[in-house]
Each structure stands twice: as structure tokens, then as C-alpha cells.
């Protein structure tokens, strides 16, 4: 997977490149719009990460120009601005995504995966999810562990489903809030943690091997240890 990273801040460039490389992507760097245009035309990329505040031009103009030049790869927009521009919303509807700075790496990776998945040919939607001995029936909205049915509320099921769909990958609190509750908020209190705590009580209870792990400072992950 090849990524073109268009970002002018050196500090952000370096840690992003490191993190993306560690996640298994091949990263190309472009510090401004002009070099990005050149690279995008001569090379083929699976995904583009574009910062809105470039030194030579506006990130959105760059994206629109690249689209005109025939670049079809999805774009993840990074914005340090406060409000989300209407034009960004337009791009979002066109299949691209945006992330406001500062962000958690886990969230960046999750959004990249989503964008790539959207572009990939649609796989047949699974009706069952399995993480070790935890099984989710997505049609009947039922979950069971080692054959025992778990008594989950509808909301808890959605939360568990989200974790299981991302099994082995870290999800942050704000990702959970956005995907499970549909809110882009940052609560001052530990509301998400309490939900996870409750869910964990039902999934990992009775001396079973814990599945839901907390990664401090980052988020949660459900996986086999």
C-alpha cells in the first residue's frame, strides 16, 4: 500500500512517516502542493493524506486539481482549522474523509483502513463475527461466549460489534463515540470507560480469559492474547 503524505510541518512529517511505515505502508513525502502534483502524476498511490494548510496553496484546491488530473485515490484531509469547511464536507460526501489535528495515531490508521475498504471491491458482508470463543450473530443481534449467550443491551451489542470488527486493532474513545453513538465529542469524564467496563463485566466475567484490553493513553483493543 502506497501513501502520498502531503504535509509541510517537518515534525509531523517525521512521526507520521515512522508510524505509517510501522503500520506497513510505503510512504512518499511531499512538503508542498507543487511537489505533490508532480509525484501524484508520475506515481500511483493507493491513498493520499493532505494537510489543508500548505505553504504554496490551499489543500482543497490541490485535491480538486489532482482530481481533475485523473487521480482517483481516496484522500484523508488533515485540518488544523477550527471549523470544518463546507468544501471539506463536500469532499467528505465525495468519499474522502477528514481528521482534525491533533489526532490519535490509532484514529488516523482506522480512517485510512476505512478509506481503503471503501475503494476495495465490496466483500460479502459477514453475518457472524468471531473473536476466539466470542461469537456475534449480526442478524439476530446476539452474542455468545463459549456457547453461553450474553445478556447485552442493544447499545452494548453495537459497541461489542465495533470492537470485534476491529479485532486486533486499537480503537480510541473518540472513535467509539463517533461510530457507536454518532457524536464527535470529547467528554471531560470517563463515560466511554464505564461502558467498556460494563461490557467487559459481561464478556470477560466468570474467570474467563479477558478479551477486551485497555491500552492506556490510546484506547481499547479486543484480541486474543
Amino acid at each position: 500500500m502506497r501513501i502520498l503524505l502531503v504535509e509541510d510541518e517537518h515534525e509531523i512529517q517525521s512521526f507520521l512517516k515512522q508510524a505509517l511505515t510501522e503500520a506497513g505502508y510505503q510512504v512518499c513525502l511531499a512538503p508542498d502542493g507543487k511537489s505533490a502534483e508532480g509525484l501524484a502524476v508520475t506515481h500511483s498511490y493507493d491513498i493520499l493524506i493532505v494537510d489543508l494548510g500548505l505553504p504554496d496553496q490551499d489543500g482543497i484546491s490541490l485535491i480538486l486539481r489532482l482530481r481533475q488530473m485523473g487521480v482517483v485515490a481516496p484522500v484523508l484531509i488533515l485540518s488544523a482549522r477550527r471549523s470544518v469547511d463546507d468544501r471539506v464536507r463536500g469532499l467528505e460526501q465525495g468519499g474522502d474523509d477528514y481528521l482534525t489535528k491533533p489526532f490519535a495515531l490509532a484514529e488516523l490508521l482506522a480512517r485510512l483502513r476505512n478509506l481503503l475498504k471503501r475503494n476495495a471491491p465490496a466483500a460479502t458482508e459477514a453475518t457472524r463475527l468471531r473473536v476466539m470463543d466470542l461469537e456475534l450473530d449480526l442478524l439476530r443481534r446476539e452474542a455468545s461466549r463459549s456457547g453461553h449467550r450474553l445478556q447485552l443491551t442493544p447499545q452494548e451489542f453495537v459497541l461489542l460489534e465495533y470492537l470485534c470488527r476491529n479485532a486486533g486493532r486499537v480503537v480510541t474513545r473518540s472513535m467509539i463515540l463517533e461510530k457507536v453513538w454518532g457524536m464527535r465529542i470529547q467528554p471531560d469524564t470517563n463515560v466511554v470507560d464505564v461502558h467498556i467496563y460494563r461490557l467487559r463485566g459481561k464478556v470477560d466475567g466468570q474467570g474467563q480469559q479477558p478479551l477486551i484490553r485497555t491500552l492506556r493513553g490510546v484506547g481499547y483493543v479486543i484480541n486474543e492474547r
Binding site: F15, G53, M183, R184, D188, Y197
Partner: protein, 493 residues
Amino acid sequence: MSSTNAKPAMRSAAWRISLWATLAFAAGTMVVFFVLDRVVATDIHRRVDAWLSGEVEVLADVAERTPNDALYNRVVGEVAELAAHEVPNRLPSDDSDENRSSFPNNSVFFLQSGADGSLKLWVGPGEGRSYASAVLASRIVVDRPTDIQVPGSRTPFRVASVPIKDGSRVYLGLSERDQLRVLRNLRTRFFLLWLSLVLLGFAIVFLTSRRMLSHVRRISEAATHIGHSDLGTRVPTSNRNDEIAHLALTLNGMLDRIESSMHQLHTITDSLAHDLRSPLTAIRGKLESSLSGTREGEQSDAIVSAIEELDRLTDFLNKSLDVAEAQADALRLTRTEIDLDELLRAMVELYEPSMTERGLKVSLVSHGPIWITGDAGLLHRMTANLFDNELRHLPSESSLTIRLETLENAARLTVEDKGPGFDEQILPSLFQRRIRGKHSTGHGLGLAFIDAVVRAHGGTITASNAEGGGACIVIVLPAHQPDHGRTLAAAAV
């Protein structure tokens, strides 16, 4: 436009303007017509007097010269009759055949009195006795025609007299009936003319001022709309060069300046946000990278708490800038239709486990969807702030009630708790920045932010302490356009 039809015309400014203008116009034209009437009446009198004086001289001359014999009466009578046919101001109707031979329509008489006051000669309608006694009873100044009221006639007679050498007197009388009729006709025409002028004037003034004021109304409607939505639109202008066009231009100029200073404010906050967020992003990214390399332990603890502090700092930065923009009424909203009921249910669902864990009892009282137009992201953050606030400040075993009600064109959200209530000292300035209660652990932006979001949505917020103890926050948000909202609500059901 629909507001004009709903509003009665009697209450419009155009109505008042035309009413006063018409009153002034009516009074003015009334004075003009009155003066005209006076001039005409004086002229008619003058002409009548001139005729009377002239004719009475002639008659006196004839009476003097004619020998006082059997033919005297006939000669003088004929002359008097001839004179009567040249009466001024005669109306055409008086020329009927029956009046042609005698004195026309009883309007003229001739009278000669002897020196002793006896009736010497009478040419006129009827016997003449009553006329003679009335004329002789009044003292007529020589050579000046005088008004005399004769019994049996409704209108007075204008009478001129001349003495003759033999001691008798010659009187010539002309009924004022015809003059009065002429004047009456004139007045009727004047009145009709005046009335149509006034009505026409009223109609013209009313229509013109209504047209002009409708432009003013369009301007004010547009201005109201601009206040509630974007600053990009302008009030309608016309190419006429009048005061209203100037008003529109001035308003647009003012809007240009407001928009430009708003734009400046946004540029400042945006660049401030950008300048702070870029290093925050780099720091956070580096901390996260180094975290993945370390094992659990003291070092990772430090990194984790640094990341958490950083996230709090970011949140504080966002809120500060939001509050700053909102206090300048410059918060940017992306408006959509939102069901407050659904929003609150989701939020209560999200917070309920945390509340339960703290031993708080939360209940939501709501009766179905309530649609408003607002920024979903901001409203989510506002509600989260409200709930965070309760979660942080309520002692355990307290209860919290969230009530959502529909008011006329508004939605009311009441958050009431059975906690210790607000600190009385800070209650008046609760929604200002950096105001914190004595035991608060927050950064003092939560309520200021809530206030900012409510204001940006055109709503109001009040905070008070309930009598039985406990804090109460009431938020009123304007509802979505009623007609539209109803269809949406119906669709939601």
C-alpha cells in the same frame, strides 16, 4: 409578502401617513374653496346691487317724468316689468311661459310710496300690502341696497330706493332666491370636487407610500434573516436614488464592515488554532510513538498522563476559541434539522452508566420528537458539557431530571438536580468565562461554552437554585419552522 396580507392595512405606516397627508390636503383645499366661495358671493352681490341701483334710478326718472294721470300706472308698470326681465343670475327654469308675461317667478317687485307712506303704485306678485309695510317699516338708507325680510317669502329681498321730487319714494326689490340658488349650486359643485380631490389624493398617497414602505419592509425582512443566518447576503437595493435606496446601501455597507471584522476574527482564531495545534499534533504523535516502544511501567505512565494532559489542553483550546467566537456572536454553525428528543435519549444512554456508577439517578422526561434547526456537533458538545458538569459536581445518591417540553415556537430543556445547587456567590456570573465554584475541578469554561452554543442558536439560558435545594438550568431553543417541523415530526412518527 404574506405578512402584509396578515397585517391589517389600518395598522400600517402607509395608512397613517396617507391619513395625515389627506387631512392636511383636505384642510388646505377646503380653505381655498371657502375663499373662492366668498369671492364669488361678493361678486354676485355687487352685480345685484349695481343692477338694482341702476334700475331704480331709471324707474325713478320715469316715475318723475311721467305725468301723474291715468296712464301713469301702466307706463311705470311696463318699464318695471321690462327691467325685471333683465334680472341678473336668473336661472333658465325661470324662463317658463307663465312667468314671461308677469314678473318672473315672483322675484322682483316695484313699489312707489307716497310722501305720507301710502302705497301709490305696486308692480309685483300679489297684493303688495305686506311687502309695502315691510319695506316701509325698515329704514332704508338712501342709495344703498338693503336686505329686507318680507312676510310670506322665505328668502329676503334686496331693496334699493330713490326719492322723487314730489315727496314719494320709488322702491325696487329683487328676491335673493336666485343668487342663493346660484351660490348653492356652486357650493355643491365645490364640495363634490373637493371630495373627489381628497379621495384621489388619499388613494395616491396611500398607494405610493405603501409601495415605498414595502421596500423598507423587504429590507428589514432581509436584515432579520441575515442576523440569523449568514453574513454573506445583503438587503435588496433599488436603482432609484431616494432615501430608502440610501438606507439599503448604508445597511449593506455596515454589513460589509461587520462581515470583514467577523472574517478577521475568524482568521485570527483560525491561525491561533493552527499555530497551537500543529505543535500539539507533533508532540502527541511523538509521545504515542514512544509509548508503543515502551513496556508497561513508570515511564509509560508518565507518557500516558502527558497524552491525557495534552488532550485536555486541546479541548480547552477548542472551547476557549468557541467561547470567544460565540461571545462576539461569530460562532460558525452548520445547521441541520435535529430531533432534540433523540439527541437527549442518546446522550442519556451514553451517560447513564457513569451516573449509575456514581450513585446518581437520572431520568429523562420527554414526550416525543421536538425538531429544531441547529449545529448537531455543537449541540452534542453542549449536552455533553451539561452532563459532565452534573457528573462532576453532584454528590452521590442525588437525582437528576432532564425535562424536554414544547413551548410555542420553542423547545425548553430543563436540567434539574437535587444536589447542593450553585454557589450563590457565583450565580450571577455563572456563564462567564473562568468562573468556577469553590470546589470545582473544571477549567471554568463548561457553562460559558453551553451559554455560547445556546446564544449562537438564538436561544436563552437561565440558571437558578431551586427552593428545596438543587441546581436548575433552563435552556430555551427556538423551534424549527412550525409548518416544516410538523411534517418532519409526522414523518418521524
